[in-house]
Symmetry: C2
Subunit: 251 residues, 2 copies
């Protein structure tokens, strides 16, 4: 959701209108509930007509300076050390690793390789269409279109994995209700499959949110009691950030 | 286009109606001109409501027995030896190889690994949406939807590569006008890029069609004089099947 860059500086009149108001509120729970129509409105207002190359330049520029106000670190430095380790461990053992995110596919692709060792083609995210056009010099380029092809949240995650990968994962990791369907679909495969959910229960070192397990019903993220119960019932592993992670960030 | 299996046995009334009539005519040139609407009609009439798993079973079954009337070989045996060799050569030198096809993505994925050594996630093709649902036993599955996400022909090829891969190819190979935009987009990248077009000019050992280079204007495929001229002008390599290929098929 940090992919919308600085559009509101150019179009201030949108600041008080939905779904733009929600984007600026930073309420991730509300944003995860955006419909295809909401996302298409955002896409149309913010990125349409921008070339793919321009978008990449803008995104790179933004990532070079944008930092988190609490940690005073670049967003690309705020990555979990255990996540980096498990990705490396899986790759060392012959697995291909993917990021499957509700975030913008083109945006995450800009930093995925450098930050997680995951190349652009192994990022599945919320994706819009593009249009092939020719410049005045006859050189072709791709422009971002207002048409949304994939809303990669909830049921959109397994659907997106099918579209982009075409096979079922052997292991899936999540940390919110938006990952439920992806874990269900992974678990429905034959043979051994690994499903893991990270519970953010460490307000001191990071954040604590539920409302599962008596944790605060925060706007940072959502991990419902229903998801927690399903995980326990289906023998998915629930990782406690507080108790199971010796180190949180990679920096 | 062989992905439509045996739908016409179930819905004979469609045989005389467009775009179904064209599909059954085997006129590949006409099929390459299908609009998104034509393809959505075909998708809706033939595959919608079928689960992804059922589709894979059907496709595998069909491929086990379907053979070409002229060569009397399974379609999966009718692959070009030089194509197999160049794919292997590129992979041995650190390149990741993809199939980018106007054919159905889910269909080509069924045999791409076995036949070309290309895994499902490296197939970019014409793709419809899917829907995540639960069976009566609570087990989730994906169903094929009548919504088309990508018409992977012409401009749809670079658009599809951007969606599925997110970077520009270093080398691109084609054999018809449907590949033009993909080669143009490849060639527009910085540094050295390789663009190659195969001219089917060998009626004895395979097929001959143009209308480029005075070859017959056949229904098997289309290679226009405009494409030929563009290739010459832009220094793309045009391969003559007749003169440059010692061996054609792998069998």
């Amino acid at each position: 959701m940090i992919a919308f860059l600085t559009w509101w500086k150019k179009k201030p009149e949108l600041k008080t209108v939905e779904p733009f108001k929600t984007v600026l509120s930073g309420d991730r729970e509300a944003m995860a509930k955006f419909t295809m129509k909401d996302l298409e409105m955002i896409l149309a207002a913010t990125l349409s007509g921008m070339s793919v190359d321009e978008f990449n330049v803008e995104a790179r520029k933004w990532l070079e300076t944008a930092s988190d106000p609490r940690w005073k670190r670049l967003y690309t430095e705020l990555i979990y050390q255990p996540m980096v380790e498990v990705l490396r461990y899986l790759r060392d053992n012959g697995y291909k690793t993917y990021i499957v995110t509700g975030g913008g596919q083109d945006f995450v692709r800009v930093y995925s390789e450098r930050v997680y060792g995951i190349p652009p083609e192994q990022v599945v995210g919320t994706a819009g269409g593009t249009k092939f056009e020719y410049g005045k010099d006859g050189k072709p380029f791709l422009t971002k279109e207002p048409k949304l092809l994939l809303n990669d949240n909830n049921a959109g995650k397994p659907e997106g994995i099918h579209l982009m990968v075409g096979r079922r994962p052997y292991a899936a990791f999540g940390n919110s209700t938006g990952d439920r369907e992806m874990l269900e679909w992974t678990g429905a495969g034959a043979g051994a499959r690994l499903m893991m959910l990270l519970l953010h229960d460490d307000a001191i070192r990071e954040y604590a949110y539920g409302p599962a397990a008596g944790l605060p019903d925060s706007k940072v993220g959502t991990f419902t009691p229903e998801l927690y119960d399903e995980a326990k019932k289906k023998n998915w592993t629930v990782i406690s950030m507080k108790n199971d992670w010796k180190r949180i960030f990679s920096f």
